[in-house]
Symmetry: C2
């Protein structure tokens, strides 16, 4: 779709969504009334900045049904995010929402080269979490064969891959690493599984990590973007050029904003803010995702959906050590350059025993002779220090297999000061 | 649909399915050729007995893709039964199969009085097991709101019920009993949850058990029938008259056969044998389900889909004690008549220490004074003995909460002699 046409479509849909939430949702009506805004004031995407933000806390404050913009009996499904504290973040879908999401996810699969002949093993959890059913409906919509495994039972997963000729693996990077380890335990080369495409989401991972797992499995890895509040996974993916994640701009308006809420220049890192254009159950205006990324403009593939950089962290994942904002993506991008280390690592922010000084310790699994490791040690610390604006971390090499493994999302940056 | 029209539809579909498997499946072509049968020999349902049987072992012998009747790339999903021994029983679905199954399940829900306004909590496991996704797609097809929980985390399930106003519970009887126990632990009356309809499958349960759980929750309970080889759950359900399970005869031809393969008279118990009429991925001719039931003719509701009795056991669930065939359903139907006992019970077949004599011990949870229990003891044993063709079991009352609980299917008849 030519860019001009796409933007006209966005404008048309934005007008409709503003009208819809104003007329059907008390929460948004009040927000707009408080600002003195009428739906007619929004003529198109150029007016997006007039609109109010939506915050994660608005979900909790309006629990359970306060964010609905359709009658409750139009809803056919709910999902919920893990909700580590208090009530989970709950979202609702109409029949059309389910179709829209499935089509959007199928578009991602298509872009990654997945076809009807493929066998797609779905390893994210089914149920309330959006991962499993998101991947599942996307695969069925595309028409490839879905193996609905869900997480865990890794040996059985490998049996299934071999028995049914799995070609596409969907899940988290963390889980692909777990698969690789179990392959090693039972003495098979992950490459022999014949996987062709890996589609990973729900975690922040670097290009170096991508190269590592592509090397382990011999597949092409893609980075899928999404979150519970925006359907779930599938709102964007990198294309085979791997220059950035295409966001499906016919379904969303994307902004990258600085902490003051002002737009970042192209290439400048900020918070991803999304407005839904086609969601019926819970349309959202300018939702502050807490994800950090930057606009990269247009991809050389020629698609008119713009690309953003791989998500480098979350505003709430960041830890501040001696005044420096530290994001997991910054550390990982350095570590993964070195073939001797990874892919498992953790970083710990801690305070010394007198409580007077903060430190950052980076622990990473490494293989190689002592001499080899000594050789890479100083350059690694130097590069980390430079990436972290002068904050010099401690670097600890530990043997492979000694760091904790998780089958779900791994939190790699741990603040031990609280 | 008038009965005559239904049978004409069955005949038309049967001709098509025989032609289809003959032309597209080497396993069936060989079977039919070996019998000297051509598709044209099957004119209608009156010729069903000319067709060969399909056995559970045919799935294992033709693993993985040998029972397919469409090209592999027409398949969009696989499911597998738990497969306690060796390779699991694996089945495959086309896009149309998924639609057919969802519509059939939605028809069950409709018959049970479920409507768009309802909130349907799905507790069977998602993933390879047909339970979760079967219930899930059925609910979405009907248009009620599905809460995709899957099994476990029972306290959270209860929170969800209260927060989102669940009105329909789908799962196993066993799991509903677990829910009731957790309600008791946290001090709430299961009736206060406001559940209106319970839809239970995958286990054999008696009318007495139905009365008990209806009494606990204050809902109306329905018995859903199905199995992995026939899509999954949803191929039949009892209607609000509760006279028997309506089998969807536009999708299946049902036979009840004796151990020699001869048709049983109406009312006579035998093995359920099913022929699929609308399945595309894996159509099956005369599949021997191992489930035991009997034809009950027509229901007073006026539907033309005939009814069968609640499944009383499986040919392979039965244990033979002193020459008597013992099925779980027989024992449960006696036990559940007594308000002092149940719903948890187990029966054990064992051999005495000299190996010369087989015994059946029935353990059931009971509440009441010693006097009360002494009063019901003898009549219960008498009735059990009569039901079991003269086999007199030992009867042991144990305190509530002492028998093992399972969150999945419960096997209540345990043979300890092997």
């Amino acid at each position: 779709m030519p860019r001009k046409e796409l933007e006209e479509l966005q404008s048309k849909r934005l007008r409709a969504v503003v009208k819809k939430v104003y007329e059907n949702n008390a929460f948004y009506r009040k927000k707009l009334d408080d600002m003195g805004l009428k739906p007619g004031d929004i003529k198109g995407i150029e007016d997006i900045r007039k609109l109010p933000f939506t915050e994660k806390t608005d979900f909790k404050d309006n629990y359970p049904y306060g964010l609905l913009s359709v009658p409750r009996n139009e809803i056919v499904r709910m999902h919920a995010s893990s909700g580590t504290t208090g009530k989970p973040t709950v979202v609702f879908y109409t029949k059309n929402d389910i179709k829209t999401w499935a089509k959007m996810f199928a578009r991602c699969l298509e872009m990654a080269g997945v076809r009807k002949d493929d066998v797609f093993q779905v390893t994210p959890g089914y149920g309330l979490f959006t991962g499993g059913l998101g991947f599942h409906y996307g695969g069925e919509e595309l028409g490839c064969m879905v193996i609905p495994m869900g997480p865990g039972d890794t040996k059985k997963q490998i049996d299934m891959m071999r028995d049914f000729g799995t070609t596409v693996l969907g899940g988290t990077v963390t889980y692909s690493l777990r698969l690789a380890e179990v392959c090693k335990e039972i003495g098979i080369d992950p490459k022999s599984l014949g996987l062709r495409v890996g589609i990973f989401g729900a975690e922040h991972w670097s290009n170096g990590m991508k190269d590592k797992i592509e090397g382990i499995f011999g597949f092409e890895a893609f980075d899928i973007y999404g979150m519970t509040e925006m359907f779930g996974p599938g709102i964007g993916l990198d294309c085979p050029r791997h220059e950035g994640i295409h966001i499906w701009e016919d379904h969303f308006i994307i902004e990258i904003l600085d902490p003051k809420g002002e737009p970042c220049a192209e290439g400048e890192r900020g918070e991803v803010v999304l407005t839904t254009l086609t969601k019926e159950g819970i349309p959202l205006l300018r939702y502050k995702t807490h994800d950090l990324s930057r606009m990269l403009g247009y991809c050389s593939c020629g698609r008119t959906h713009r690309i953003i950089d791989r998500v480098s962290g979350r505003t709430d994942d960041m830890v501040i050590v001696r005044g420096v904002n530290v994001f997991p993506g910054q550390i990982e991008s350095v570590l993964m350059k070195y073939p001797q280390v990874g892919p498992e690592w953790y970083a710990y922010a801690y305070r010394n025993e007198f409580g007077s000084m903060d430190h950052l310790q980076v622990k990473v699994e490494a293989t190689g002779t002592t001499k080899e490791l000594l050789q890479i040690r100083e350059p690694m610390i130097k590069e980390l220090t430079s990436t972290l604006m002068g904050l010099k971390p401690e670097l600890v090499f530990v043997p492979t297999g000694t760091l904790p493994r998780q089958e779900k999302k791994t939190k790699r940056l741990i603040d031990q000061r609280k």
